[in-house]
Amino acid sequence: MVLPGLRCMLGLLLLAQVSVANAVMTIEIIGAGEHQIPVAIVPFGGDAKLAQTINAVVVGDLQRSGLFRLIDPAGKLPHELADVSYPDWQVRGADALAIGNVSVQDNGRIDARFRLLDVVKQVELTGQSVSANGDEIRAVGHRISDMIYEKLTGDKGVFSTRIAYVKRSGEKYSLIVADSDGYNEQVVLEQNEPIMSPAWSPDGSHLVYVSFETGHAVVYVQSLFTNQRMVLADFRGSNSAPSWSPDGKQLAIVLTRDGSSEIYLVRPDGSGIRRLTFINAIATEPSFSPDGQTLLFTSNEGGSPQIYSMPVAGGPEQRMTFGDGNNYSPRYSPDGKGFVYTHLINGKFFIATQDFQTGQVETLTSGGWEKKPSFAPNGKLILFASEARGRGILATVSSDGRVQQHMFTDNGDAREPVWGPHQ
């Protein structure tokens, strides 16, 4: 009974080719956090000799989060603990200070050692060494940013995570994986037919997505390591809206093979398909709760598109959104205490969140063509598709709505973004 999946694997076509594009990203930040932590990042000793500086990556990461105020080192460039004079930094108003050195080893690897210091208490908060291949300077920077972020905010950083999205340039559609800041684009699939709804496996090793390359919507699973892919679902009508369960053992997908758009569960090898909803209207966009027990989804069973919830084990669905307007694309927050979704009212799309316990709804954005939100794995940021200057762009908003960033890729329309897991 393992065979169906194996057959799929053997029958697959290796159309995809991973390539790396040197995209130019433009990132604009709007707003600032309520309490910004003043921090000074001193360029590491040896940093200027690298192909690009680690300092620029770290400063960029911390600035974009909106939670930090970067203090200019203004001529003071200590690299060792012994060189640090705390009063210099107290005068500048810094609460924390990062110093360090970076060197390139004989084998080409980069070796960065850094310390994060509490300027007020005059103690070392952490000292770490990070090493990586010579072409992974940005990755080294993101890891250092993550450590600084975690020490100073108490939350895990997401600078080292990746995102996936679809880019349309003319008639060409590309499925792209990139760093969380949009850099380091890798093309996973490129073709002249639409690609939709990418979603990550919980371990970040695979993407599942919808492609129209055979003339209708078919769900594929593709390994990001081997690039091999297989058909997960190709029944008559539309096969779509894949979402992976947190334990990785099954996916929720939407099929129309029995008539209406209904949610089904399927194993990652395409076997064991089981129908979950019997709504006889539209049910789509399933999202698993972090404990894997519940699904949120979009349905029009009450007349307009709204968010519903139902147990994965089966059972009655419960409507979650009320009031004026339509609601789409629910995604659980990583702590399972609420969800983010797209709210459409008076012709404008907004990104909004709802808390399960209080039922409180918060609209996080100012409205426009804002769609398809997904949480960063630390729950502090939400990635979504937006539009600016006539182009589809990627955007993030902090979960308190205070800080937004707009990420412009060098060309094309970006759409359908989804934030990947911690690696």
Partner: protein
């Protein structure tokens, strides 16, 4: 001068986009008969396939929907029923019904809605005498819009099912 020509072309494009009567938009070119080209036509009168007759209702291949609606509208029923009759009289012909949506909604919701728009046309074709095996349905959701502006004159053209002869 060149600039002027471009402007005029643009205006024409915009005008096409803003057409208030999408139902009267040019029908897709009739499917060419698949007879071998080599044989010269005998000099006898051959009945014209009504599919290829531009004055026939069969030249209309698109039906349009209000926002978030997937039921065939009364105005468009005669079009669908004419195709149903044709299919019942030409059981070797097959059609692909393609459902489309405007961009208001999520992509996945619109994919599902487009599927319903295709299915509702299929249902009426079958009620009108076509066989289910003659009809394939597919949805493009909001992925293949005819018109790409953010306005109602565009959206009304995109909320559509096309009957395409194979």
């Amino acid at each position: 001068m060149k600039k002027l020509v471009i402007s005029i072309v643009l205006l024409n494009l915009l005008a096409a986009c803003a057409s208030e009567k999408p139902k009267e938009a040019a029908a897709p070119a009739p499917v060419a008969a698949t007879a071998p080209v080599a044989a010269p036509a005998p000099a006898t009168v051959v009945a014209v396939d009504p599919l290829n007759d531009p004055s026939s209702i069969l030249s209309k291949r698109s039906v349009y929907f209000p926002l978030d609606v997937s039921a065939v509208q009364a105005d468009d029923k005669p079009i669908v029923l004419a195709h149903a009759k044709y299919l019942s009289e030409h059981q070797n012909r097959k059609v692909r019904v393609e459902g489309n949506c405007d961009e208001r909604g999520s992509k996945e919701y619109n994919l599902a809605l487009g599927q319903r728009r295709a299915e509702s046309v299929k249902k009426m074709l079958v009620l009108g005498g076509a066989k289910a095996s003659q009809i394939e349905t597919v949805s493009y959701g909001e992925e293949k819009p005819l018109c790409k502006e953010h306005n109602e004159s565009c959206w009304k053209q995109n909320r559509r099912s096309d009957i395409k002869y194979q």
